[in-house]
Amino acid sequence: MGDEKKQGLFRAVISGLGGAIGFEIFALLNYAYFDLAGPSVLSALFFCSIINLITMLSYSELSATLPEVGGEYTYTKVAFGGIISFMAGCLRWLASIFGGALAAVVFAQQLGVLFSVFAPPIQDLILANTSLLIILVVVILVILAIRGISEADIIIVGGFLAIFVIFLFTSIGYSLAPQNIVPQFSGDGLTKFFATTAYLFPMFVGMRALIASAPKIKNPGKNVPRALLITTILLTVVYFAVTYVAVGVVPIDTPRTASNPPLLNMAAFTILGPIGAVLFAIAGIFASLSSVGTAMSVQSSLLGGMSRDGYLPNALQKLHNRFGSRYIAIIVSSLFVIVFGTTGAAVFLGYAASFGSLLVFALVNLSLIKLRRKMPRLDRPFKAPLYPLTPIAGIIMSVLLLAFPIVLGDVNASGAFLSSLGMVAVVLLTYYLRMVKREIDFDRLRVAVGGICLGTGATLLVMSPSITPLSMFPIIVLVGMLTIIAGLLNIAASAHKPD
């Protein structure tokens, strides 16, 4: 691509803002404000931006040094290769899945808020059928994604900023003075502060879209780091200002029910009346649709890349005959988005998306250190300042932010962390199965699975008298015996195999 067709600094900043400003500000502030940090959510936002900036410095160096499509997956592949790069790709994919699922949940919420103004009975209908609505919107976006319809990010970013400016401008007449902006360090105040920081992290990570578009940017060695810094500053200012107003007009002891709108919508309603609620609901709807669409694009690109490198089945990189999109990868990813989205568990999804991103951030910082040592003479148009302090700080903060919500005893955080660990286990198993080529290893797997089924069947038979009702007893015994015999057949088949 010639230089004249590449994007300049302004377009790069728009790309970063477009990736970051989205549904997260509608989804995450509620729990962070009402249940975690209270007004000190403002301090948590600021701290979040600092941590994000530290890792973005590592991203800047890596993207300037390796301006190729793939982002984190490419950096870890060059630095480590093997299981580490596969893990980075999968974690990035999972974070995108959880983010897409959360965006679908927010879409349904915002649609409910919109109709709460015009037609409350329709809002009740939406709230009662949220799962179906999420499935419908994801299916429609899948079809659009397969057809290669892309979102207009300049229009969306411009629209958001315009709505936020109106919101901030009209709040001038309000006496805003949120108390306790600085976190209280007594009791569990510090833990809640860090948990809030971890929870709000997805609000900033979207600016990685700028890194993904690095190959399309003119003079990436200079423009990408500049764009990252400018984007971080602009995002921090916008988020801080909007949250300051929202926290200032909505008291923390506001009574809440299941159908309560998100914090921003409540603040908009307070300042601008029903028009404000509608405006922000429309913004939230566009934000969430854009995020789900972007997530599908990222997911299919990641799966396609890992498939191309042999980590995943070839089918995932297959292109549609007519539209040229990775339609199988899009469909596979969207199924996961649907499964998680239909849970409606917004707080769980928020933590899960955050944890995935934090783990990826830690791997990116590690990759920077590894590449500096492994390839010290590599041309680096931009170098992260204060090396090695910045990547080390990035790794430490990522680990701490992972730990604090669990230390706090937040059930959602613990559930999200355990789910993330479970996903990591599945990733490792997938890597092992994919890399197993020799027949003898396949037989070991067969013996292992046969043994598991033998044990499971035996356990069912032994435990069935005490755990099953009388009516189910014959069925459980039959299932147990079938499982035992099937397990024995697999073990015996491997034993009889000629060498």
């Binding site: 559930g415 089924c453 499971t456 099937a486 057949l489 697999n490 015996a492 088949a493």
Partner: protein
């Protein structure tokens, strides 16, 4: 040998069927279709454990059945 192959396909299909059915029950429990949680009188606090156990049982049954059917296929 032929008898073993016939047994393999029969038990492979049966095991795969068990895997699919238990997977279906897992999904139904997760989404509480047809109020199945109430029908089975399952305590809510143990639901994640039930889902995990059923899900794993379904997964391993499917894999086990797949291996047996694959042997017949080859």
């Amino acid at each position: 040998m032929e008898n073993r192959r016939i047994l393999s396909i029969i038990f492979g299909i049966a095991q795969s069927g068990i895997g699919i059915l238990s997977g279906g029950v897992t999904v139904m429990l997760f989404f509480n279709f047809l109020e199945i949680q109430t029908v089975f009188n399952l305590p809510t606090e143990f639901m994640p454990i039930y889902l995990l156990v059923l899900g794993l049982f379904s997964l391993f049954s499917l894999i086990n059945g797949f291996f047996l059917v694959r042997e017949w296929w080859r």
